[in-house]
Symmetry: C2
Subunit: 241 residues, 2 copies
Amino acid sequence: MSNPTAAMLVIGDEILTGRTRDANMHYLAGELTGRGIRLCEARVVRDDHAAIVAAIRELSGAVDHLFTSGGIGPTHDDITADAVADAFGAAIDVREDARQILVEHYARTGLELNDARLRMARIPEGAALIDNPVSAAPGFTLRNVHVLAGVPAIFQAMVSSVLPTLTGGDPLLSQMIDVNRGEGEIAGPLKALAAQFPELEFGSYPYQRHGAHGTQLVVRGTDAGRLASAMVALSDLVKAP
Amino acid sequence: MSNPTAAMLVIGDEILTGRTRDANMHYLAGELTGRGIRLCEARVVRDDHAAIVAAIRELSGAVDHLFTSGGIGPTHDDITADAVADAFGAAIDVREDARQILVEHYARTGLELNDARLRMARIPEGAALIDNPVSAAPGFTLRNVHVLAGVPAIFQAMVSSVLPTLTGGDPLLSQMIDVNRGEGEIAGPLKALAAQFPELEFGSYPYQRHGAHGTQLVVRGTDAGRLASAMVALSDLVKAP
């Protein structure tokens, strides 16, 4: 596959203690797939400086784009920006362009731009700001790392700001077919079919619906013609007694 | 913290393409927290042998317990058992005790125990089986790696089989308080309070409810007395004008 690759790093104790169920990974996965960018790995780490730095270094070196989620707010547990700066040895301080965005936002809302809120203008040297149309405080891109907020509505808005700027690949197409048999019934022929279409990926996902077992077969790939041929063959396969 | 530590490895293209929203991570996080086992990291990797082997080696070496989810069914994309065996240089083949479980299950259901289904009896040498009361095909524990199914109902049943066998720690307690102010307002005093209770963790999570901004403050720790003291101080703090 020559499609661009991506990884995601979710940062936050609230996910790993079970307080919050992460929603951003699933959202980003769908958005990237639609643009032909292949999400290769996702990780969740704690609000721990060393853990975040290590994950950023490793993942950003392994893929074309790393997206992070969480840890860029005004409180003491928001340590992502400093960790990203450290990961690349970049200086970090309150930056004038980011500060100006906050000044205007808080002037408009009548709230005080205090020291805590000013932390949200700490941006690593060399980073480009990512627009936040929801609550103003910007994300940023440093090298191939896109640093986004954790609140889902803001995360999604920032994804919409970033994605159009990235080079996509051939969209990853998928087609599926539901079969009212257990996956053990069709595993053998499915494996043989998958071998005939090495450029496609065949997934098999069991489900239970109204008490009956069934299997959803999913075929994924970037070549629409081959995908169509595979679906014809798959239909024949599951029709067989 | 001297509580036991854990990591989770979710295996499956369906999560990373956005087809399926993972539910097992959130479930396991809650169960582990309740037993005083600290989930330090979670990862999602593709159905790729090398990626699974590398993640198993790294994570199992870093924590007391590694839990995996997915990839132990009958189809060609179910490659977790072989990857776990490879990660530790263990031999793997159809094992008689696991085969017997499948023989009885398929005799009962009237379905054929074909070659594909028999793959679910491939268990690494030295592993202990994990009971699957839902669909029979067992999970297994090899060293400190607990290999569980990806289907949420089966995953949860297997977690129930495994967790009582593990040594827990002091339960991680948490208390929370909702404040109808933005987190930027309370970030300063919250940071000062957190410094007074270094053995506790203070989290701050913004929310929007009925159009109004608010913040949920969460305090976590294993010492009930200190937690109670912190909550008293926190109530005073958020009452202040």
